[in-house]
């Protein structure tokens, strides 16, 4: 018996049937769907990272920290950065396993996936997707430390020169401020450099750098609106 006849006999004997085409198509589609899903969610993570960067007032916070490294570590939204990296790794792994995935080098796929996530993430950020996702997590996930929580922590260290809260009443050289922990402060702002967008009126949310002069008094040297450059916030923390 020649080898080809032997092969056909073996196939018949073992009743080997070709796997149907749709199973291969399905498998390949799953890899592509995972890729699209991961890139889109990566884009959402990137939009939250952009949102968190927007919330940082780089111009005045820099001097509070001993180094930029320390500052970045304090402000970086680790959860979202790790999510973005994990999603990109899954996206690249899935595309590598698709039918033609082997044709691309890993650096090309990493570059392509990252660029796609960054591009879509920027669009999400501009359309408010980042803020929405961040707020959704802050509201529904109890263990999640929101960017606003982190921000209010950074800006609630009077002994280190930062203070934030809501103005209760304002005078010519001083105003009363309730910080986010509910404590009332008397702030002297006579020598402070104030952003043009800040209006010292009741209910205004602000942040400032300066020096704690006693248990209940603070001397401000730079005052900014709570929301960052040109972004005024009025009312309680719900408006953040």
């Amino acid at each position: 018996m020649d080898n080809s006849t032997k092969l056909i006999e073996k196939i018949k004997e073992q009743q080997v049937k070709p796997i149907s085409r749709w199973r291969f198509t399905f498998k390949n589609s799953v890899f592509w769907l995972i890729f699209i899903f991961c890139v889109l969610f990566g884009a959402l993570a990137f939009s939250v990272i952009l949102f968190s960067i927007q919330q940082v007032d780089f111009s005045i916070i820099g001097h509070i920290y001993h180094s930029w490294k320390e500052f970045v570590l304090a402000m970086i939204p680790l959860f979202w950065v790790i999510s973005l990296v994990v999603l990109l790794v899954i996206a690249i792994f899935s595309i590598k396993n698709s039918k033609k995935g082997y044709k691309f080098t890993s650096p090309a796929l990493i570059g392509f996936g990252t660029a796609l996530s960054m591009l879509a993430g920027t669009v999400f950020f501009i359309t408010g997707g980042g803020k929405w996702l961040e707020n959704t997590f802050a509201t529904h996930v109890t263990q999640y430390e929101s960017i606003q929580d982190r921000k209010s922590e950074v800006w609630s260290m009077p002994e280190n020169g930062t203070l934030s809260g809501i103005i209760l009443s304002a005078g010519d050289e001083t105003f009363e401020l309730e910080d986010f922990k509910g404590k009332t402060w008397l702030v002297n702002y006579s020598d402070a450099e104030m952003a043009s967008s800040v209006e010292l009126m009741d209910g205004e949310m602000i942040k400032m750098t300066g020096m704690m002069t006693s248990d209940k008094t603070f001397e401000a040297d730079k005052i900014r609106p709570w929301g960052g450059h040109q972004r005024r916030y009025h009312g309680g923390m719900n408006n953040k």
């Binding site: 080898n3 032997k6 018949k12 049937k17 070709p18 796997i19 291969f24 080098t105």
Partner: protein
């Protein structure tokens, strides 16, 4: 129905795949068409004897039959078949944990590398003929690309499809493998 190689010689590979899916007997044509070169390839890459190579080829073709619907017509059928045979051979080698030895391959390979690099072969004939065991000392990833490129005469694109690695990686690997091979061959 008996299908002879003659009866399907006018069919190209893609037509043969379609016919095979309709009638298993046509699959024997596919086997017969590729049997000699694949047997040679299995032996080159693994150094094992003819009998074991036949077993690997039979198992590979059962796999090819099972996955025939996966064949992507944008590829060359030969690349896809080589890929399956290559993987089957590698897993056989892994189970066996040893390669056979074939010094004739080293001589042929060295000669082909020199020709590819436009270097005169005649001057180095003695050295070429004394090239012994170089392939056995190469990492497998180098050995497989050298065999595919210089003995099986596959293009970069075909090697990329067989080994499932990007074409750029194929080029880099061949270049490195060639350098290591020549260095070892000149020492041997």
């Amino acid at each position: 129905m008996i299908i002879t190689l003659d009866s399907c010689k006018d069919l190209n590979d893609n037509e043969l795949v379609i016919r095979s899916l309709e009638n298993l007997d046509y699959f024997s044509c596919l086997f017969l068409r590729y049997e000699p070169e694949l047997l040679r390839y299995i032996q080159r890459i693994s150094g094992i004897d003819t009998e074991e190579s036949q077993d690997i080829l039979q198992e590979s073709f059962i796999k090819i039959w099972r996955n025939l619907n996966e064949f992507d017509k944008s590829l060359k059928l030969s690349s896809w078949i080589y890929r399956i045979v290559h993987n089957e051979t590698v897993s056989f080698i892994r189970k066996k944990k040893s390669f056979g030895k074939d010094n004739i391959l080293n001589v042929e390979l060295y000669r082909n590398i020199l020709r590819e690099d436009d270097e005169p072969v005649d001057d180095k004939e003695e050295r070429i003929n004394n090239t012994v065991g170089v392939l056995d000392h190469l990492p497998f990833k180098y050995k497989e690309v050298l065999i595919l490129k210089f003995l099986e005469r596959k293009s970069y694109e075909e090697i990329s499809d067989i080994l499932k690695i990007p074409e750029g990686t194929v080029a880099i690997r061949i270049n490195r493998a060639k350098k290591v091979f020549r260095k070892l061959a000149e020492k041997s």
